[in-house]
């Protein structure tokens, strides 16, 4: 451990004592990884409210949604967060993909345009966060550029990152593949839809972002 790091950890109790601002945490990931399903579950469990609508069509969330002052208690630890549910990150958006899902051309072009704006907003939010929950679809290949970019950003800024391997209710899911890809970061395997391992996630959030 470096000298600076050692000093930092020695004085971390003072940092905690004087830390007043709550942590601003972004929920990131590719489209359809389950970000809004997870955000809804967190907000519902701890405030009784909901965050946004969920759809099988990609880019349902096209504006970042923010919920302030969400207090999570787990195993004696407590953390208050501002939770930002961000639009899915992508490097390509083709309106034809929406047409294939049953939208007409005009609707598809509008949605594609809004989706590009959503991606820009999600990227801009990265500058203003204290940590990230990166949601990955555990049935998909984890080495996507979106995942690599978000992780690279957090590592470069030395900000905490928690990987959520979502959709473990599906038989083809493989959280081990995600862990193998990014072994340097903590990972929790969950089903945001079914609530599987959700208490474990709250514990990790309280430990990690508190």
């Amino acid at each position: 451990m470096g000298i600076m790091k050692r000093m930092k950890s020695k004085f971390s109790f003072l940092k905690k004592l004087f830390k007043k601002r709550r942590a601003r945490i972004g929920i990131y990931g590719p489209p359809n990884a389950g970000k809004t399903t997870l955000a809804n579950r967190i907000i519902r469990d701890w405030t009784g409210d909901a965050m946004g609508s969920v759809s099988k069509i990609p880019h349902e969330t096209r504006r970042a949604r923010r919920r302030e002052g969400v207090t999570i208690n787990s195993n004696g630890s407590s953390v208050t967060l501002d939770v930002i549910d961000t639009p899915g990150l992508a490097t390509k958006i083709d309106f034809h993909d929406f047409m294939e899902l049953g939208m007409n051309e005009e609707e598809s072009k509008r949605r594609a345009k809004e989706a590009t704006e959503g991606v820009i907003e999600a990227v801009k939010w990265l500058d203003d966060l204290d940590g990230v929950i990166l949601v990955m679809d555990a049935t998909e290949d984890p080495y996507t550029q979106v995942n690599v970019t978000v992780i690279g950003n957090m590592e470069a800024r030395k900000l905490p990152l928690l990987i959520v391997a979502n959709k473990i209710d599906l038989p083809e899911s493989s959280p081990a593949r995600i862990h193998g890809a990014f072994p340097q970061h903590p990972l929790v395997s969950i089903s945001a839809l079914e609530g599987q391992n959700i208490d474990l996630l709250y514990q990790e959030i309280a430990d990690h972002f508190g």
Binding site: G2, I3, R6
Partner: protein, 121 residues
């Protein structure tokens, strides 16, 4: 006989080191929009990747450009003694392949191998 195909440019680390972030992003987008595949010996920093994604989104148009396919390996952590002593994290970016989304498709990617399919439009 005129050979038909897709142009692929391999850009060296030295050339990239001499460019600003915005110059790199502009070069990538201009070349990719012209249908070229680029291989960068040294990839982009995380903040350059952000810029590239942002500008790509701005330039997407319904019938001409649907975005880029970009694949790079996860950054490597540097191992310099001085950085360790100072508790600094030095990140080393790695080889990156970028092309038009409608011409380059990643088939498989893992920690040390990228397999991609390139097609003519």
């Amino acid at each position: 006989m005129l050979m038909k195909g897709i142009q692929m440019d391999l850009i060296s680390e030295d050339k990239l080191d001499g460019m600003t972030s915005m110059e790199k992003v502009r070069l990538i987008l201009d070349e990719v929009k012209n249908g070229k595949i680029l291989v960068l010996e040294k990839g982009l920093t995380p903040s350059e990747q952000n810029k590239l994604i942002e500008l790509t989104m701005v330039e997407i148009t319904p019938d001409n450009f649907s975005g880029i396919e970009i694949e790079s390996y996860p950054v490597k952590h540097g191992n310099r003694l001085l950085d360790k002593l100072l508790g600094k994290t030095s990140l080393r970016t790695r080889l990156t392949v970028i092309g038009p989304a409608d011409q380059l498709k990643t088939i498989k990617k893992d920690r040390d191998m990228i397999s991609a399919l390139v097609s003519a439009q």
